[in-house]
């Protein structure tokens, strides 16, 4: 009985999440807002869509200390920032993440990876890496779904 209840709850969650899913990156070609003069763009995406709790766990992503959004498996979002120096982290206490210079008009891509620690898979570590060349990221992004951001940057008409 308990198993049936769990299965029903999982199915309901999957249906609910499917309803929340945004459009795929490939369907947004040409609809992305242009980068303002003097700004650059930072994409965040998490390719894997494993079922482990660690992979599904969402954490806050920070750009120079400011929370800009959360990771979500199979999803992406972006933020625009003035050209300059940037550190992207998820945890205050470790300072792990990536750092880079953002040039005017430049786009940087940050891939998020969730790793399970231990056999239960309930405890996870989020890691990030910069993706270069941009074509690699663009290809990986094609099937990703838009997930919005805490920052004002949004694809018009979607949120």
């Amino acid at each position: 009985m308990k198993i049936w209840l769990k299965l029903a709850a999982t199915a309901a969650t999957v249906v609910a999440l499917a309803g929340c899913a945004g459009p795929q990156y490939q369907s947004l070609q040409g609809r992305m807002p242009p980068i303002a003069q003097g700004d650059g763009r930072i994409y965040f995406y998490q390719p894997q869509a494993q079922a482990s709790a660690a992979a599904v766990a969402q954490q806050k992503l920070r750009v120079n200390g400011d929370v800009v959004g959360r990771n979500k498996p199979g999803s992406f979002f972006f933020v625009d920032r003035p050209a300059g120096s940037y550190v992207v982290t998820n945890l205050y206490w470790t300072g792990d993440g990536v750092s880079f210079k953002l040039d005017p008009g430049q786009t940087r891509y940050v891939r998020i990876k969730a790793e399970s620690l231990g056999s239960t898979g309930t405890v996870g570590k989020l890691s990030m890496e910069m993706v270069d060349p941009p074509e690699v990221a663009e290809t990986e992004l094609l099937k990703m779904r838009y997930w919005g951001a805490a920052s004002p940057e949004q694809v018009p008409g979607l949120r």
Binding site: K101, V123, M128
Partner: protein
């Protein structure tokens, strides 16, 4: 009733213990990779300055203070973008070049007297000195 609650509490305690150990492990791993850097203010090249590009004649391997390795590929080209008190600063022309400290950082090489003496991390505006500078075999200069 009591017997069914007790194992649940014990299980939760075990899980919390594991979580604490995992977090402690992550922190210690992170500490292992961290390195000491110095705040640095890059003086950029003036727009009127001639473009200065160097090309390495062979692979250069540098050991960072945290024992991780940075490989500068053979034939890679680097453009002078500025200077620090420690040396001239060159940015990779062949795409993103990074070094691994507690985070993955974009890095420019810093050269002085024909040697690679450290890396400038533009995202952190910091200089990462090498304990052992290595010779920089420059094949071509423009």
């Amino acid at each position: 009733m009591v017997s069914s609650v007790v194992p649940t509490i014990a299980g939760a305690a075990r899980l919390s213990k594991f979580a604490v150990l995992a977090v402690a492990g992550m922190l210690s791993l992170s500490a292992c990779m961290s390195v000491s850097t110095q705040r640095a203010n890059l003086v950029p090249v003036a727009p009127a300055d001639p473009v200065n590009v160097i090309q390495l004649s062979r692979l250069v391997t540098a050991q960072l203070p945290n024992d991780s390795i940075a490989n500068l590929p053979a034939a890679s080209q680097w453009q002078r973008v500025g200077a620090l008190p420690q040396g001239d600063v060159y940015r990779s022309l062949g795409g993103l070049f990074t070094v691994q400290t507690r985070r993955q950082g974009e890095a420019y090489l810093v050269a002085s007297s024909g040697k690679l003496v450290g890396f400038y991390l533009p995202g952190e505006m910091a200089y990462l000195p090498l304990n052992r500078p290595v010779t920089l075999p420059v094949e071509k200069r423009q």
